[in-house]
């Protein structure tokens, strides 16, 4: 799809993952044993033939920049395309007269990169949130949009019935036209679908919407920009039926992590003909010792396991010593769980050490998050 441009929002608006987002945005948070959350949206674009992608950033973005590098590992280190990182203050006032400085939200971010959008020659733009875990065939979405004649097509899902103050809900007509969009309110169940944060529109229409919103000082993408489109023009929906999870808080993160311990969900997310790409680290395979006892867990390369592990996700290079016992936990890179330690419902950020004999416990509803490089 040469004539499609991808845009990813890689900064946080309403999300908060406690200690995990102290040093990075949700997009850059580790997920699934070897990925970062943004890998899903970026891979969706690559797998759909979108090789020109702009990533909008606002703050705490060093972690993301380190992760993406030259974008080689996504096959996006291209001569005539590839990833463009778009932090605030990217353009001069002349090039980008609408907004140049700090962003108040997604509309400002798009307005700040208006020069990038104007210079591009793509006919369509796919805008995606970097905090979404889903494997979506975006080429299908663009195809449906092209045929429908709608001004905007948004990808929605019926899977999640939850009541989330930050989620965007919408009501569809029988012909899958969007008739109502609400943020944080599903109108007593009338809005049966949740927006996944993927929007397709023509580049010209997006530029028109941005100019219109800036002129009226609108800030909120879902509340204001989408509503303007809904009132004035035609908004359609693409209903996505496979696994999807938007990560707003630590509970969502924990839930999505535990979800992928299920084989069916894993198959939906890591569909082999549409792989999820990530940065390659060249670790040796995982090593299981004589006393290793591992059940229902995902284990990345480079791990060294001598203890007991059940219902866990271990990122690369995690060491679980003899007689350590961890359950229902997520241990990120370089975690060291020493002999006799015991963990339950814990999310340990990178480089955490839990010393001999220490015990920590959270609960399914409130997994305890241990900050980066902490020693317990």
């Amino acid at each position: 799809m040469k004539n499609v441009l991808g845009i990813i929002f890689a900064f946080d608006t309403d999300n908060d993952l406690r200690e995990l987002t102290d040093h990075r945005t949700v997009s850059a948070v580790q997920f699934g044993g070897r990925y970062r959350i943004v890998d899903f949206m970026l891979s969706n674009m690559v797998n759909s033939g979108i090789f020109r992608v702009g990533i909008l950033m606002k703050d705490k973005y060093q972690s993301l920049i380190d992760h993406i590098g030259s974008a080689k590992d996504w096959d996006m280190s291209r001569k005539n395309a590839g990833v463009t990182l778009l932090p605030p203050y990217s353009y001069s006032r002349k090039a980008s007269p609408l907004v140049t400085g700090e962003y108040r939200g997604k509309i400002d971010a798009l307005a700040g990169a208006i020069d990038y959008l104007q210079k591009n020659r793509a006919e369509y733009v796919v805008i995606g949130d970097g905090d979404l875990i889903a494997n979506v065939a975006l080429d299908d979405v663009v195809e449906q949009h092209r045929k429908s004649g709608n001004d905007v097509t948004m990808v929605v899902s019926k899977r999640r019935p939850a009541d989330n103050q930050f989620a965007t809900y919408c009501e569809l007509s029988r012909r899958r036209e969007v008739v109502d969009i609400r943020v944080g309110d599903h109108n007593d169940g009338k809005c049966r679908y949740e927006a996944m944060g993927i929007y397709v529109m023509s580049r010209a229409y997006l530029i028109h919407l941005i100019a219109d919103c800036v002129a009226h000082n609108c800030i909120h993408f879902e509340r204001e920009m989408l509503t303007r489109a809904l009132i004035d023009d035609k908004v359609g929906a693409y209903v996505f039926n496979e696994y999807t999870m938007k990560i707003f808080d630590a509970k969502d993160y924990f839930q999505a992590s535990m979800d992928i311990l299920d084989k069916d969900i894993r198959d939906e997310l890591f569909f082999r003909s549409r792989p999820i790409f990530t940065r390659i680290y060249d670790e040796a395979p995982a090593y299981y010792g004589d006393k290793a006892d591992v059940q229902d867990s995902l284990i990345a390369d480079g791990c060294h396991i001598e203890g007991k592990v059940s219902n866990c996700i271990l990122f690369r290079d995690v060491i679980i010593e003899k007689d350590a016992e961890i359950k229902n936990s997520i241990i990120m890179e370089n975690g060291r769980i020493l002999s006799g330690a015991s963990l339950d419902y814990i999310v340990a950020d990178r480089g955490v050490t839990v010393r001999e004999g220490r015990t920590m416990m959270g609960h399914e509803n409130y997994p305890v998050v241990i900050g980066k490089s902490a020693v317990i």
């Binding site: 084989k263 040796a284 299981y288 995902l298 060294h304």
Partner: protein
């Protein structure tokens, strides 16, 4: 563009590796998987880049497709360079006719132009069938300090194994006075590792002379080294200490993989300062289910394990069904072991499928001593339901379901 390099590496990767039998019917030996996520060639290539040698010619001849596509642009080893990088060099047609690589020396001879392009002072000659980690730069410094014409890496081997190797007889100062190929009564225990550094000017001249010589086998060990010794050139040995293993046979390939399971074997794959690079297929982390029991094994990404695994090396995307048993085995990428199957003391190649209830291989204690050996299932082969593949046997074709 000026492209001078101090040292260019030439990696001999054209051999079939016929003693690996069914494992090399479709790929050359250097492309055979090793150690859970690597191929044999990853070791010399990673050694090169870790030693600061960024220009490598890979000489291919036998079944080159898998190797060519594996090497690609060289990005995996950080060898996609503007100047230098990795090149595959198959035999090619020239104005005076064309021929296959006749021997190891002839392969280099046919690529004199490639080497000349970099105007190197030294050429490192490597082979693609050994597993080891080595800093070639240290060997190069040794070569330079001794102002040698050729430096040969040697390993001290047990005296009873010496007759299997090319033995270097050295003076106390490390200079070589005699080379004996597989001597019955070895005078020394210093075995050649098949790693040579030559001063390019000298080697170039010997290659041209050797090519002109009628009846020469155009081989480094048989022709070039003896000729240099005969002319009194300065040949010195470079002692290597550490893990080194020739994986040219089924047994040695199996053993070398098993060595990885013992932390004291000497080959540390998780050493940050000397990483071994290999192409990554981007599979998710491996999953071990609650029915599974995994001990003393190496497991790679993408595996789904529901059976019992011990003392084994599993490459990426291997699937092991409920109640299946895998012991002392090597399962290459994408192998499928169905529920209830038993695989012991075996090598199961890429994409092979072991059906329900099949029995592959056996423990040494279960069979007569001379009947034991590692069982091998070739790439893509299906071992039918309840079928049996005894120890030491090789399945190059599908085995039907048992009656």
């Amino acid at each position: 563009m000026y492209r001078k390099k101090e040292c260019v590496a030439m990696l001999l990767a054209g051999g079939q590796g016929s003693r690996l039998y069914v494992l090399t019917t479709k790929v050359a030996k250097p492309a055979v998987p090793f150690g859970g996520k690597y191929k044999i060639i990853d070791f010399p290539l990673s050694n090169c880049v870790n030693s600061g040698i960024d220009t490598v010619g890979v000489l291919t001849q036998y079944e080159p497709h898998a190797l060519n596509s594996y090497i690609g642009s060289g990005q995996t080893w950080d060898l996609d360079r503007m100047r230098g990088g990795v090149y595959t060099l198959p035999p090619y047609q020239r104005s005076k006719g064309s021929e296959w690589y006749k021997g190891t020396a002839n392969a280099i001879y046919q690529n004199i132009n490639f080497i000349d392009e970099y105007d190197p002072d030294y050429v490192l000659v490597l082979s693609g069938d050994h597993i080891y980690k080595m800093n070639y730069n240290k060997m190069l410094q040794h070569h330079k300090q001794n102002e040698a014409d050729a430096t040969i890496a040697v390993l001290d081997v047990p005296i009873d194994e010496a007759p299997r190797f090319g033995i270097m007889n050295c003076n106390p100062d490390g200079s070589i006075y005699e080379f004996e190929e597989k001597p019955k009564h070895p005078k020394s225990t210093l075995a050649s590792m098949g790693i040579y550094i030559f001063t390019w000017k000298k080697l170039r001249q010997y290659l041209i002379e050797d090519e002109a010589k009628e009846g020469s086998s155009n081989d480094f060990g048989k022709d070039i080294i003896p000729a240099m010794l005969g002319n009194g050139e300065k040949l010195i040995s470079y002692r290597f200490e550490g893990y080194w293993k020739d994986v040219g046979t089924i047994e040695s390939l199996w053993e070398a993989n098993m060595d990885l399971l013992s932390p004291k074997s000497g080959l540390n794959l998780s050493d940050d300062t000397w990483r071994i690079y290999g192409r990554n297929n981007g599979a998710p982390p491996h999953f071990t289910s609650k029915e599974a029991k995994v001990t003393h094994s190496l497991i790679s990404e993408g595996c789904e394990i529901r059976g019992n695994v011990s003392e084994s090396v599993l490459f990426s995307d291997v699937i092991i069904g409920k109640g299946a048993t895998v012991e002392y085995s090597i399962l290459m990428p994408g192998a499928v072991i169905e529920p209830g199957a038993s695989v012991r003391y075996s090598i199961v190649a890429e994409g092979a499928h072991i059906c329900e209830g099949a029995v592959v291989g056996a423990a040494p204690s279960e069979v007569e001593a001379d009947a034991w050996g590692v069982a091998v299932v070739a790439s893509g082969v299906r071992i039918g339901k309840g079928a049996k593949l005894p120890a030491k046997e090789m399945a190059g074709e599908d085995l039907p379901d048992a009656e």
